[in-house]
């Protein structure tokens, strides 16, 4: 799970923070409600996770709440990787 969180933190930092943005992305940083990842960009983050972990996240579960922190995203990934087996 720590590896998953690290992957998510690094991807969010690389893809969604502008150059020069010194904010640190922690496991509890508010990504959607904090304006780092908007609801339109969430789709690309979802796609990345699906490819990285060979899972399918149903649209109904890909809510702004589920994607709001690294912790909640990692939990979502964990749920679907466990279901995959």
């Amino acid at each position: 799970m720590d590896d998953v969180k690290k992957v998510i933190r690094e991807y969010v930092t690389k893809e969604y923070l502008e150059e020069g943005d010194e904010r640190q992305v922690t496991d509890q940083t508010k990504l959607i409600s904090g304006g780092i990842v908007d609801s339109f960009s969430m789709v690309s983050l979802k796609r990345f996770l699906e490819r990285k972990y060979a899972i399918q996240i149903p649209d109904a579960e890909a809510s702004p709440e589920a994607f709001d922190t690294v912790d909640s995203i990692a939990a979502l990934v964990g749920k679907f990787t466990a279901a995959r087996g």
């Binding site: 893809e15 609801s39 339109f40 960009s41 789709v43 690309s44 796609r47």
Partner: protein, 344 residues
């Protein structure tokens, strides 16, 4: 004829010693207006090639006949871009003096590429069957802003209107309805057996083209999209042209169409249909790469929420992308009249 004579002379820059080639199909209005009437009214030598697209054959044709002015279309130009520079290098195209484009908005990437490939930029020209002649354009000698439609032809009064009030937009950069002051010589006089549709084209003393654009502080027009093609996502209007132009800048993309896809939350979101260049494979990794490319280049709003890789895009026989067909498929609606669609 007056409008076509004048615009062929001043926009296509036709001169007595020119050899002119317009590769538009004669069944398309460009093929008649600027493939016959315009050049003939000016007494210009003209060449005709009875051939579909073939880069080698087209360049050989230009070389053999020492074509000086070439009027083409964005679809053909994008195909030439896909064929690359090596084939250009095998031919002497030094006779070319002036290049112009018609039919769809010309992506900035195509203008930049043509300068590299031919030493000359394609000049985008804008008009419709209903206008009868070129009305907004890039002129010979005028500074081209790649991606811009240019400025109104002298004698044409053009503006963009607020879609609610039908008054001219007063601030640069604000998108509105492209409109023309009626009365130029080649203006449409009516739609066959449909006076109401004709009447609806005029509002507040302006002729409505059905297209949207913004005018910048220098007076250049910037195409956004057909009224029907503009995507309304979360209340924001997104024009397909900007997205498609940005997609074209991605190394893998040969052609694209951006249309609306229904969305429960945002009403509509952007979906892109992409035809790839040879050597690229349409897999999920490339889809994600292209999505992020657009998001960084334009905005999250413009980022396609889905990309579908296709072997080709549906087009009319004159080469215009049929976005309405793709949109109708997304919305589960009838695709409408396909009689003008090009066969694959």
């Amino acid at each position: 004829m007056i409008s076509q004579y004048l615009t062929a002379k001043r926009v296509l820059d036709l001169r007595p010693d020119d050899v002119y080639w317009c590769n538009a199909d004669p069944g398309w209005v460009t093929g008649t207006s600027y493939g016959i009437i315009g050049p003939w009214a000016n007494g210009i030598t003209q060449v005709v090639l009875d051939s579909g697209f073939n880069a080698e054959r087209w360049y050989s044709f230009i070389e053999r006949h020492r074509v000086t002015v070439w009027y083409s279309a964005p679809t053909a130009i994008r195909l030439l871009m896909r064929e690359g520079l090596e084939v250009v290098g095998r031919h002497d195209l030094s006779s070319l003096r002036h290049l112009a484009s018609v039919g769809e908005p010309l992506n900035a990437e195509a203008v930049v590429w043509s300068e590299e490939a031919y030493g000359l930029p394609f000049h985008d020209t804008y008009w419709q069957t209903e206008t009868g002649c070129i009305v907004i354009t890039n002129f010979p000698g005028m500074r081209i802003k790649p991606g811009s439609m240019g400025k109104p032809f002298p004698g044409i009064t053009a503006t963009v209107l607020n879609p609610r009030t039908f008054e001219p937009v007063s601030r640069p950069g604000v998108v509105g309805l492209i409109a023309l002051r009626p009365g130029w010589p080649s203006m449409i006089r009516g739609y066959w057996n449909n006076p109401q549709v004709y009447a609806d084209k005029f509002k507040n003393g302006w002729y409505l083209t059905g297209d949207r654009a913004a005018i910048d502080a220098d007076g250049y027009f910037w195409f956004v999209g057909r009224d029907d093609d503009v995507i309304n996502t979360a209340g924001h209007l997104v024009g397909p042209f900007e997205i498609e132009s940005a997609l074209l800048e991605h190394r893998a993309v040969a052609e694209s169409a951006a249309v609306a896809k229904p969305d429960a939350v945002n009403m509509e979101v952007v979906k892109a249909f992409v035809a790839l260049k040879p050597g690229f494979s349409g897999d999920p990794d490339l889809e994600l790469e292209i999505m992020n490319f657009i998001r960084r280049k334009l905005s999250p709003l413009a980022m396609p929420q889905e990309i579908e890789f296709v072997p080709s895009l549906p087009k009319t026989r004159s080469g215009k992308i049929l976005r309405r067909v793709l949109r109708a498929q997304e919305f589960g609606e009838p695709v409408g009249d396909l009689s003008t669609m090009m066969d694959d």
